[in-house]
């Protein structure tokens, strides 16, 4: 049955829970595999990386991969901090702006009546299913036309409109009852107030989920660095990590790429743990029935 309350975990432990926990445990192991693997892989010494059949767990953990990575980054012309800075700026700006646009558009498309609403929604749906790679060159042309090639904007603009996020958030806004909005309008709230005071707090879980998704997309994106930016000092950390692992010889690169994967993964994990309370609580506490 639906469990209501601020705390996720029940206070007591009952015998009836055992069967559910027994059911969940094997699945948990499956689900946790990739994370365990990434962490283990990064600490594997060279001979274990190439062992066949591959081992899942590390036997003799070393930090060799990390030291190799740092050594390689020292020899490069541009310091690593520059790439970290680039990635941070790009990711944070993109997340904030795209979430703002997405929630605004979702509110309007879901709750306000105006012409062409359904056409817009259809366009979004079509865009969602379109292959992103196919629009690479048109995008490049737009970039050159607007003169945003080789700037931070080139990283941010193409990722601002995330059709999947809009689709997801709109579904959640649809669930907000109209009567709630009507009550607010009756009390003299403006559209802006309804948006900030009702819609945003109510769809917080959806926003948190969308934030994680957008973060994923921006953080791991190499397309913009590859195609839209030529200046090396403006490229992102992901791109840098990838070149480091690939540029050196492939044997040594394997270990470095494993370490790089772990480093790239950690921000994901941190953000997720920060947001997880929001994501996990979902709508239980928001008072919608």
């Amino acid at each position: 049955m639906a469990y209501k309350g601020h705390r996720i975990n029940p206070k007591g432990f009952e015998k009836s829970q055992i069967k559910i926990i027994l059911l969940l445990l094997p699945l948990i192991i499956f689900m946790a595999l990739p994370i365990v693997y990434i962490i283990n892989h990064a600490f594997k010494p060279m001979e274990e990386l190439f062992a066949f059949p591959p081992n899942f767990f590390v036997r003799n953990p070393t930090l060799d991969n990390f030291t190799a990575l740092i050594k390689a980054s020292r020899t490069a012309g541009i310091p690593m901090s520059r790439y970290v800075f680039n990635s941070l700026i790009i990711t944070s700006v993109t997340i904030v702006l795209s979430l703002l646009f997405t929630t605004m558009a979702a509110f309007a498309l879901s709750k306000i009546r105006f012409r062409a609403k359904y056409v817009l929604m259809d366009i979004n749906q079509a865009a969602m299913m379109f292959v992103a790679t196919a629009v690479l060159i048109p995008r490049y042309l737009v970039m050159t036309f607007t003169g945003t090639i080789n700037t931070y904007v080139a990283h941010i603009l193409p990722l601002l409109a995330v059709p999947v996020a809009l689709f997801l958030v709109k579904q959640f806004v649809d669930q907000v009852p109209d009567s709630l909005l009507e009550a607010a309008y009756m009390d003299g709230a403006s559209d802006r107030q309804v948006y900030t005071k009702i819609i945003i707090p109510m769809i917080k879980p959806a926003i948190a989920t969308a934030a994680i998704m957008v973060f994923q997309q921006v953080w791991t994106n190499m397309e913009t660095s590859n195609y839209f930016v030529n200046d090396d000092s403006l490229k992102t950390l992901t791109f840098y990590m990838n070149t480091l692992a690939n540029a050196n010889n492939t044997v040594a690169g394997q270990g470095m790429s494993a370490a790089a994967a772990l480093i790239m993964f950690i921000p994901n994990l941190v953000l997720f743990i920060l947001l997880q309370n929001n994501v996990m609580n979902t709508m239980a506490t928001s008072g919608i029935k």
Binding site: K4, T133, L160
Partner: protein
């Protein structure tokens, strides 16, 4: 005029929007404007351009792009001459159609388990959502390369052999491959679990209480309360899953498109890749439409009846109008005929 006529006329008359409605429309548009601008430039325009590219053969020369208009040449070539595209597309369609229900059902089961009052619930939820932040990155590619994403111990050959007894060969291979990549399938279900959880938590618990008071079992509660309530979310999840699988970097067709985009051969190149992308997107849209049609919420009985009554009313009004018009026309005809036979003794009344 009868009452029915009046109603019919009223419903067909155009209602002009008032000032309030207009204002609402303007605020609505204002809220979407930033999104529209972004979508126009980076989605609509680029998609249009890529369609134009699909109709051309594009060659990159030092002087810039060289366009040659080939019409549907690219498409026919892909469908008839490309050795990779069609088989991979078929494989993609079967694997998607098979794995989407599995992912959604798995997500629903997990969500229902997680929704109950169990200890360490927060921890469980965390673990089940964690794959989401792994599978979308380049890490997934590494995992797949290492073979960590497949169960190597399961003998897929045996499953294929067992299944080909009563299934066509291609289906059997697809299903056994699905068994092999079961872990990946489960990893893809993080967001879906979350969406289901939020839907489950919104179901009013008093509904279950009422059902239990009337002697409903848990099984019945699931079919009569849980499933109908979360139906829209099922559709959402299905669409999300299809889109996720289709746009994934692990997808072989995406790699194929990318490869042909940067291949220097004469007939391939950007136009060819665009055509491929359009074909592929069309197939994806088709899959989504089919699933959506299967799951689309049917309107309830009352609404259907109202619609039917309205339709009947319109039909009747049309009939009345038709008869009226015919009457006028006939009257005119008779008048004409009478004029023609001005001097005849017959005046149309039947008696001389």
């Amino acid at each position: 005029m009868s009452k029915k006529d009046k109603i019919a006329k009223k419903s067909s008359a155009k209602i002009k929007p008032g000032r309030l409605a207009r204002r609402e429309a303007i605020t609505g548009l204002l809220f979407v404007t930033p999104w529209i601008i972004g979508a126009c430039i980076f989605l609509a325009y680029t998609m249009g351009t890529s369609f134009w590219y699909a109709l051309n053969n594009i060659r990159m020369t030092p002087m810039g792009k060289k366009f040659t208009y080939v019409g549907t040449g690219n498409f026919t070539q892909i469908l008839l001459a490309d050795v990779d595209f069609t088989p991979q597309l078929i494989e993609y369609v079967t694997s998607t159609v098979l794995s989407v229900p599995i992912i959604v059902v798995f997500a629903l089961i997990i969500a229902m388990l997680l929704n109950g009052p169990i200890k360490f619930k927060g921890f469980f939820r965390l673990i089940f959502f964690l794959p989401v932040i792994v599978v979308s990155g380049p890490v997934m590619g590494m995992l797949a390369d290492q073979g960590a994403a497949t169960i190597s111990t399961i003998d897929t050959q045996a499953i294929t052999a067992a299944m080909s007894g009563f299934l066509p060969e291609s289906m059997a291979t697809a299903i056994s491959e699905l068994f092999g990549s079961m872990i990946t399938v489960l990893w893809y279900s993080g967001v879906q679990i979350l969406i289901f959880l939020s839907a489950l938590q919104k179901i009013d618990s008093s509904m279950y209480e009422a059902a239990q008071m009337d002697g409903g079992s848990g099984w019945e509660c699931f079919w009569k309360i849980t499933l109908p309530t979360i139906k829209p979310m099922i559709l959402l999840n299905v669409v999300y899953t299809i889109v996720f699988i289709s746009g994934n970097e692990q997808n072989t067709i995406i790699t194929l498109i990318q490869n042909s985009m940067f291949s220097g051969t004469k007939e391939k190149g950007y136009g060819y890749a665009s055509a491929m992308a359009w074909l592929y997107s069309l197939v994806v849209v088709l899959i989504v439409v089919i699933f959506a049609a299967l799951l689309m919420a049917r309107k309830d009985v009352y609404e259907r009846q109202v619609k039917k009554a309205k339709r009947d009313m319109k039909k009747e009004a049309r009939l009345v109008k038709k008869i009226e018009r015919r009457g006028i026309r006939n009257a005119k005809k008779i008048e004409k005929a009478r004029k023609k036979r001005k001097y005849s003794t017959y005046d149309g009344s039947g008696d001389y």
